[in-house]
Each structure stands twice: as C-alpha cells, then as structure tokens.
C-alpha cells in the first residue's frame, strides 16, 4: 500500500471513531444538557475531524466541520442553549458528515454543491440565532433565503504582502485597493505598518506596509484574482473565499481563537509582540506559589501527574490491522505446537541436564500460552460504542413515531471480538428498530394500559460461562402471536395448531422475508431482518432467542463465543479419533455408569446426570461409524449444553483442556456438518472441533 493510501486508510478509520464519539457525546449531552466534559469531547472530536479531513484534501468536509465547530463554540460560551431540537439537529449534522465521509471512501468526488450549500445555510442560521425553537417552515424559508444569498454574495479574505521594491514597477498598492473597493464592500481592512523602519533608516522608495482585506462581493474568485494579475507572481497575495465564516459582518473564527492569535490576525500586534507578552505572563502555578496558596512541591506533584496523564493519554491506543493480529495469533499457536512437539521428542531422551531442559521448556510453553491469550485479547472491544449507536437509533425511531422512550444501558464494559461486533451491529440495528417501531406503544396506548407513558428499551451485555450475552429488551406490546400465525399461514409457513411457544415463534419470524407490517416505513417493515439477524449470529457460532409476553414486552437474547482467535476446549478421544468441544458448552464429565441409563423408546437413551435425564449422543451415529459399545465400563460421559438443550456425549477417553486456534475446515478441505474446524495438536496430529449447534440439529431435528 503506498503512502497516500495508508494516510487515507488511517483517516477513514479515525473519522469513523470520531463520528462515533460525537454521536455518543451528543446522546450523553441530551441527558445532561450543559456545557461540560461531554461538550468538550464533542468539540474535540469535530475539531480533529476538521483538521484530519483538511489534511487529506477533503476540504468540503473540513469546511463543514468548521461550521459545526463554530456552532459548538457558541454552546460552550453559553450563547446558545442546549435543547433537544438542537441535539437532534446536531445528530443530523453528524449523519451528514458521515455521508460525506462515506462518499469519499467510495471514491465519489463529493456531495452535490446545492445540497451542501443548503446544509451550510442551515448551520449558519443556527449560528445567527439565539434560540432554535422555530418550526420547519421557518427553517426551510431560511434555507431558501440563505441559499439565494449565498449564490449572490461571497466573502473573501485577501492578504496583501508586497515585495519591498514594488514601487520600482510603477505599481501603487493604493490603486489596487481602489480597484478592489470597486468590486464590492470592504467589511474590514487592516493595515500593518509594523515593518516600517525608523524615519532615519527608511528607504523612501521601498514599501513597508501590508494589508488584509475582508471583501464582500458578488464577484467570483477569478474576478477578484484578476485585479492582482500583474502582482500575484512575485508578491505574497493570498485570496481565500470565506463566505461561510462570516455572518452579519462577524468573523466566526475569531470566537474560537485565543486573544493573542486574534490580535495577530487583525494585525494589531506582531508574532514577536505576542511571544514577548507571553514570556511575561505568569503561569497560574507560579502565581499560587507566590501568593503562598501552595508550595512548590505540591505544584510539581500535580504538574508531573498531568504530564504522566497526558503521556498516557497519547499512548492509549494505536490502530492495527486485524489481519496483523490474526497473523500473530497463528504464529503464537505454531510456536505452541512446536514447543509441545519438542517436549514430546525430548521426553524419552536421557541427558544429564534433562531436568533443566524440561523446566525451561515448561516455562516457555507457559509464556507462549499467555502470549496467545494476550494477542487474542487485542481483538476484543467493549460494547460501549455499539450500545450508544443503538441508543441513537432507538431515540431517532421513537422521535420519528412520536413515541416516548427511555433507554437503559448496562454491561458496556463487556468485551466482544471486534469481528463479532462488526458483523452483528447492522442486523441488530434492525432489532432495535423493531423494538421501538413494533414493540413500544404510543404514549396514549400505554396510558390506557396503565403503563408509564415512557417505554423502556434496554441494552444489556454480560458474560456467563464462556459466552457473551447481548440482550435487547422492550416493555411494549409483546409480539402479537395471532398476527404472526395469520401472516405465517398466508406465506405458506407451517404453523402448529396448538399455542405457539417462543421457539416456534423464533422459527417463524426467522423465515426469509417474514414481516407482519402491511406498509413499508423507513424504519421497519421492509420484510428483511430477523432471518438476516439469525444468519449472522449463527455464522459467528452464536445463538438467538426470543421471549415475548403480551403487554410485557419482548426480549431478544444473543449469545456469542468469547473470541474467535482462541477457544478453550476439552480434548477427548472417541475410537481412534481425537476431538475437541468448546468449553463454553461443557457442563461436566463423569465415568460412564450403566445403571444411569434409561431407554426411551427405540434407540433413544437417556442418562441420569445431576438429577436430570439427558439424551445421549453418540458420535459414531453422526459419522456413520460402527456404533460404540455403550456397555463398556471404560467409557466416559461428557455433558454439554448449547443453551437450547442439554445432552450427553459418550466417549472413550477425556484427555485435557486446552486453548486452541480453530482453523477452518472449509478453507482447507470442505464444510463438514457437526464440525466447526480443526486444530493441530502438540504431537502434530489433527483434532476436529465439534460444532455443538450443528450436533444438536443433527441429533434432535432428525428425530
């Protein structure tokens, strides 16, 4: 990848984070509407986005971010109140920036100028207002008005720094200024005579004065540039269109500048003046020490703490390509395999220092195991960002449908594999929309049912056993089972006559194209969704569950394995094959006891385990091998639970537990039912990793 590509890649990745941060800050700001850390975080994100986009040449994004930055600055200064409509407005602006970034990412040249101008005018309107409680009609009127105005008038910042011997060419800057004046109105003109030497030293034929002009004109940039046609090549003439920066004659940029910089900009002082003044300025700590409010040591402690904190902040995160991490995971695993093989090879060797060699090997194996774990952890991300995004979707959906909701978020610190997060985010958005769109009732309906007007949407994540659970719950209507039945019958889906339980419901709604909505709205009812959710979740080795109750609400529970990089697994042997089962599904193991077996019609056998009878699964049946002799007293029972049901697996020998990297069978061989992949064991042999969901299906659905 060449350098510009790499820069762009970093820009897009960083911008994605900045947009997420902005969105999250806005949502938090909505619940605590006051200038504070949330606003500062938002401001910083937009500011960084502005600089970043300018750096990669996406000037339209940079300019737009600049406008938003100005608006945020007004909020920081308390010139604009933080209101819900304003938050909505800003969220839309963030979406617009996201669109612009996406378009750039897709290689499109940019956004339609008309659209961009209209949006800019809208932001400018907020910049010129004290409150935002005007209706949309008023807003659209303003947009139209500003668009026309924007087309007619332009503002230019013109910096005129001429070479000292300009007079020799017979040109007088005054005449240029007069020409410029004819093009429009000078909003501001600032001369700078700081370079003028002492009278005794002056060369009367040299020019020492420079100017900065803000011109409001209907002329185009080209027309303005033409005035300076004969001087632009060998003088420092800079003309910049700043139409968006000026509002009613006020430079919006000035508000965000430190006073020193603003004075330089206005040419009231020079850079040297500022530097000298700053040198004289005492630091707050020094003043406090002088006034004996604190001692020097206390000051130094805090200064050191700040420096450490800033340094730590700077090195908080780095951006790494996932494929690089995966490569490391694989290398660590190969090293582990190599070490184990070496240990096996050395086990029957005799050497005087064999004890030390073994000790070193053990230690290396231990270090390598930790290394594998640590590398795998790099792929893990907290669900905070994902949940905040859901919160936003829920909020927007509710507003759009005039519903009132309160979102509850918990377990945001729970980490999930980055790959899982990326794959599930989009399908889950659909669930969130469903919860608000179909689940939550209108405030009137809720009141009539004796519920609070405000519906609750809950996003919860937690780890249990070897799995991560993500739960999306609403306290609304619950799924209308009868409506589901009707629709299913219409679509020709088989529906049992008896009461539909949650599991059957799940099967129905996960049929491709299933939707009960008669009309297609922008939020839901497009007839895609649940099947997509289920497919994605399944692809990731997870499971999806629905629980619904009339007028109590609906809960969607998704379960995922902790990570794909490393899986904790139990190693066992059945016949001459070696297998692994993911530890998250393991409930327990025990020596096979014939007396615990109960026959349940035909070949079906149940095994009594911890007071319950569980069906027994025999791998021989799955792989069409010769049936194992279950009467053997040497057999071992492995008890597993997929979350859907528990069952026992009868095997020859349980070996050990280990962390493995599952390699795809599909990419190396072909997809095999009941097998999720394979791994290379320490002795170089290959062990198959069982897919518990597939096994469940093979055994029980078949029946």
């Amino acid at each position: 990848m060449n350098e510009p590509d790499e820069t762009l890649k970093i820009f897009f990745a960083e911008t994605e984070d900045l947009i997420k941060t902005s969105e999250e800050s806005l949502l938090r700001l909505e619940s605590a509407p006051e200038a504070g850390p949330e606003l500062e975080e938002l401001f910083r994100a937009i500011h960084t986005l502005k600089s970043g986009s300018a750096m990669v040449g996406f000037d339209h994004i940079s300019e737009y971010a600049h406008l938003i930055e100005n608006l945020l600055d007004r909020l920081r200064d308390g010139k604009l109140p933080i209101t819900r409509p304003l938050i909505s407005f800003l969220l839309e602006e963030i979406d617009f920036i996201r669109d612009m970034v996406d378009k750039c990412a897709d290689g499109e040249t940019g956004i339609e100028p008309v659209v961009l101008e209209a949006r800019k005018a809208r932001v400018n309107r907020f910049l010129g207002m004290d409150s935002i409680n005007r209706d949309d009609a008023d807003l659209s009127e303003t947009i139209t008005h500003n668009s026309i105005k924007a087309k007619k008038w332009h503002c230019y910042n013109i910096d005129l720094i001429f070479r000292k011997n300009l007079f020799e060419s017979g040109i007088d800057p005054l005449l240029l200024l007069l020409n410029l004046k004819e093009m429009g109105e000078f909003i501001e003109v600032v001369s700078d005579s700081s370079e003028l030497p002492r009278y005794e030293e002056i060369d009367i034929y040299k020019l020492y004065i420079s100017w900065r002009v803000i011109l409001k004109s209907a002329a185009s940039l080209q027309e303005i540039e033409n005035i300076f046609m004969f001087v632009k090549d060998d003088n420092d003439i800079e003309i910049e269109e700043i139409t968006n920066r000026y509002k009613d004659g006020v430079d919006l940029k000035a508000g965000g500048m430190p006073i020193g910089e603003a004075l330089i900009e206005k040419k009231s002082i020079t850079k040297n003046d500022l530097e000298e003044a700053l040198k004289k300025q005492k630091k707050i700590g020094e003043i406090l020490v002088e006034e004996k409010k604190i001692d020097k040591e206390a000051l130094q402690t805090v200064v050191t703490m700040q420096e450490e904190s800033r340094a730590a902040y700077r090195k908080t995160s780095i951006r790494v390509d996932v494929s690089k991490i995966n490569y490391l995971v694989n290398l660590a695993e190969e090293t582990g395999v190599g070490l184990s093989r070496m240990q096996n090879m050395l086990s029957d060797q005799e050497a005087p220092n064999m004890y030390e060699i073994n000790l070193q090997l053990e230690s290396l194996i231990k270090v390598n195991r930790e290394f594998q774990e640590r590398v795998a952890q790099v792929r893990m991300f907290s669900l905070e960002g994902t949940f905040r995004r859901f919160q936003r979707i829920a909020r927007d959906t509710a507003l759009d449908q005039n519903k009132q909701i309160k979102t509850i978020i918990s377990g945001t610190e729970t980490e999930l594999d980055k790959e899982v997060i990326e794959c599930i985010t989009d399908p889950l958005k659909h669930l969130v929309r469903n919860c608000v769109g179909h689940g939550i009732e209108s405030p009137e309906e809720r009141m009539a049912k004796g519920k609070p007007e405000e519906g609750i949407i809950e996003f919860r994540a937690y780890q249990k056993g070897g799995q991560i659970f993500v739960l999306i719950r609403d306290d609304g209507n619950g799924i209308n089972i009868e409506k589901i039945r009707e629709r299913a019958l219409e679509m020709g889906i088989e529906v049992p006559d008896e009461e539909i339980d949650n599991e059957t419901l799940m099967q129905i709604v996960c049929n491709p194209g299933f939707s009960t909505s008669s009309s297609v709205t922008k939020l839901s009812g497009r007839g895609v969704g649940m099947d997509v959710v289920k497919t994605e979740v399944k692809k990731l080795g997870g499971s999806l569950k629905i629980e619904t109750a009339k007028d109590k609400g609906t809960t969607f529970t998704l379960a995922f394995p902790l990570t794909f990089a490393l899986t904790e697994a139990l190693h066992f042997r059945e016949k001459d094959r070696s297998y692994l089962v993911p530890l998250w599904g393991l409930v327990g193991t025990e020596k096979f006891e014939q007396s615990n077996i109960r026959s349940f019609g035909g070949d079906e056998k149940l095994y009594r385990f911890r007071g319950n009878y569980l069906p027994i699964m025999n791998l021989s049946r799955v792989y069409w091998d010769e049936m194992s002799d279950i009467n053997s007293q040497e057999k071992v029972m492995i008890f597993l639970d997929t979350g859907r049901r528990g069952f026992g697996l009868i095997v020859d020998e349980v070996l050990d537990c280990r962390q493995i990297v599952v390699k795809s069978l599909e990419s190396n061989y072909r997809n095999v039912k009941g097998i999720s992949g394979a791994t290379i064991m320490g002795d170089g042999s290959v062990a198959l990793v069982l897919d518990l969901f597939d096994l469940d299906k093979i055994f029980f659905n078949k029946n």
Binding site: F167, D172, P173, L174, L177, L178, K181, F186, V189, V190, S191, S193, L196, P197, R198, Y199, E200, I202, I204, Y205, L207, Y208, I209, W211
Partner: protein, 98 residues
C-alpha cells in the same frame, strides 16, 4: 523641466498648507522639506484640505516621520480633503497619520 505636483506653504499661524498631489515623484523633495522645516519644532500642524491625492510612498513617509516625533511633538492635521480622507480610510492608514 519636471514640475512638482504639490506645493507647501506655512501660514501666519505656523500651519503647513499642502496643495496638489503627494506622489513618489516628489518624494525626495517632500523628505527634504520635512527634514528642514519640521526640525526641532514643538508643534507640527498640517493642513491637507487641498491635497487631492497622496500615494502609498508619500503617506508611508509621513507616517514614519510622525512616529519618529513621538509624544514630545504636538502633531495635528487640521483639515483633510474628502479625496485624501477616502484614500486613508480605504487603506486603514488614517489612524496612523492623524
């Protein structure tokens, strides 16, 4: 022979009355006039009511001289033609000269 584009006289009250155009062509004369006429005086009163144009070089010279005078000398522009005022305002140099 080249003729000067401006004239300057001192009236009975000591005010220097400029007339015409102050341009780079007469710059040396203007400087010589300043050096000789304004030397060691406490009051410098200038009447610019009849100056119809002044170029950058001339204005720049007057500004440099005014700055050199400092606060010990009483510098005053008694009147100014609309043309000159427009030029000085346009170039933001009025504040430097008055």
């Amino acid at each position: 022979m080249e003729t000067r584009q401006f004239t300057v006289n001192q009236d009975a009250e000591g005010t220097f009355r400029f007339k015409g155009k102050l341009t780079i062509h007469d710059l040396e004369y203007l400087k010589k006039f300043i050096d000789t006429s304004f030397d060691r005086v406490k009051n410098i009163f200038l009447s610019m009511g009849k100056v119809v144009y002044a170029d950058t070089a001339s204005i720049q010279l007057l500004i440099a001289f005014k700055k050199a005078m400092g606060s010990e000398v009483n510098w005053k522009i008694t009147d100014m033609s609309p043309e000159l005022e427009k030029i000085l305002e346009l170039s933001d140099l009025k504040k430097e000269l008055i």
